[in-house]
């Protein structure tokens, strides 16, 4: 397998659905951070056939894991410290997402009210459905 050097401190995000790593890069706002990032696309995987991997060298308190769970909770997060994996956690869908996604319903109060936090709640864990706290419109990432 391709070797992209060892990380001293940071994250290895494994089991990313093939092709999703770049959008994940943007969702995590890694473009705004001054850190080393390796994007590995289409790595071979026993579990998934193909997968993407993201390696991020950064302070481990800098990443918002909640949003990661929201985007794809099958991703495995390996926490690296002093060059070793110190923690390996499966992600759980957050019950509430605040100020990460915006409600796209033009009839929603969030479209006009100033300074209102954009809050979504987990309406159906099985179907992974989030709804806007205010208008209850389903969040559709494809829109």
């Amino acid at each position: 397998m391709l070797n992209v050097g060892k990380i001293e401190e940071g994250f290895v995000l494994d089991h990313i659905e093939a092709g999703k790593s770049l959008s994940l890069y943007h969702h995590l706002q890694l473009d705004k951070l001054d850190c080393t990032v390796a994007i590995i696309k289409n790595a071979r995987s026993n579990k998934m056939g193909k997968k993407d991997i993201l390696k991020v060298e950064c302070d481990i308190n800098m990443l918002n894991l909640d949003i990661l769970a929201f985007i794809d909770h099958n991703i495995t997060v390996n926490v690296i410290k002093d060059g070793e994996i110190v923690d390996k956690k499966e992600l759980v869908l957050p019950k509430e997402i605040k100020n990460v996604i915006r409600c796209k319903n033009p009839r929603c109060i969030t479209s006009i009210e100033q300074g209102l936090p954009h809050i979504f709640f987990l309406a159906d864990e099985e179907k992974e459905i989030y709804r806007c706290k205010y208008c209850e419109e389903k969040y559709d990432s494809k829109k």
Binding site: N105, R107, C108, I109, Y134
Partner: protein, 303 residues
């Protein structure tokens, strides 16, 4: 402090209490005539809805209280760009309770989160209109004596009709309700509603023509079928008569079937039906006042 945002905010037991109170108000109005003396309701209507606003105002006046407010966004500070959050903080200083109508969905919830007085959602866009649902439930409960064991037909625009969705949700908490949805293909009840019913094991049927099933109904909830909801004029002309209730269709209905309608009506119930004792849509308006009286008393903790 409690607010009312959604008809499901109250449990079935709490609703029972509320309806008992409303029915006592109906029987003994004098007992409640001074309950809200010195109290004020603010009716904050960012869009016009004269009937709903007057119903709240009549309810408060019947309780011996008084009314302040505005009846459309142009006459309020909203036209100067004031947020809902700021408006409710100001209103909280003037009144004891607020009924808010707003074209944006979730507006009343934002108000409630910043308010120091109880807020009643008097309609937020296409989202919720809980006092309409409470009115519907009280009407059924008072005139049928129960909220369980019946077959209800909901007829007309079931796709966009917010009052219909809300009523289905509210009724789905009671025992042995059988739903029959009567609508054109284009205006069928949304999937999330039928999925919810299936999940709860509540029986429902979907039919195209009212006259096919009217004889089976204990309750008929009529709504408007608007011309602009159809894809083409041809379909509208072909289908519209299926959803107009007239004397002839009523001949097949049970003798104690009740006809409800959230009003305003356009032509979906022919005026010749108005004199039929089964037509209770104007009584429904009266129950709307009673249920709002009961709600104001409950939220102000005066009972």
């Amino acid at each position: 402090m409690r607010h009312l945002m959604n008809p499901l905010d109250f449990s079935v037991e709490e609703l029972d209490k509320l309806f008992e109170l409303a029915m006592d108000i109906e029987k003994n109005p004098e007992k409640y005539a001074d309950k809200c003396a010195g109290k004020k309701i603010a009716t904050c209507f960012y869009e016009a809805s004269t009937r709903t606003r007057l119903s709240f105002e009549a309810a408060m006046i019947n309780l011996g209280g008084s009314v302040i407010g505005f009846s459309d966004a142009n006459s309020s500070s909203a036209s100067k760009g004031e947020s809902v959050s700021d408006t409710i903080r100001v209103i909280s200083c003037f009144a004891d309770i607020c009924a808010m109508r707003h074209p944006k969905e979730g507006a009343a919830m934002v108000a409630a989160s910043k308010s120091s007085i109880p807020v009643i959602n008097a309609g937020d866009g296409g989202h919720q209109h809980p006092t309409q649902t409470l009115t519907d439930l009280l009407t059924i409960r008072s005139l049928k004596g129960r909220l369980n064991h019946f077959t209800i037909g909901l007829c007309g625009d079931l796709k966009f009709g917010r009052t219909v969705h809300s009523l289905i949700n509210a009724l789905s908490r009671y025992e042995d309700i059988h739903f029959i949805f009567i609508s054109p293909e284009e205006l069928r009840v949304p999937d999330y509603i039928t999925e919810m019913l299936t999940e709860k094991g509540i029986p429902y049927e979907e039919v195209i023509k009212l006259e096919d099933i009217i004889d089976r109904l204990d309750l008929l909830y009529m709504t408007r079928v608007q011309r602009e909801r159809f894809f083409n004029e041809e379909d509208y002309v072909r289908l519209k008569d299926f959803y107009i209730l007239d004397k002839k269709k009523m001949e097949a209905a049970k003798e104690d079937m009740l006809i409800l309608h959230p009003l305003p009506r356009v032509n979906e119930i022919s005026v010749e039906v108005d004199d039929d004792p089964r037509a209770v849509y104007f009584k429904q308006v009266q129950y709307g006042v009673y249920v709002r009286m009961a709600l104001i008393l409950t939220l102000l903790e005066l009972v």
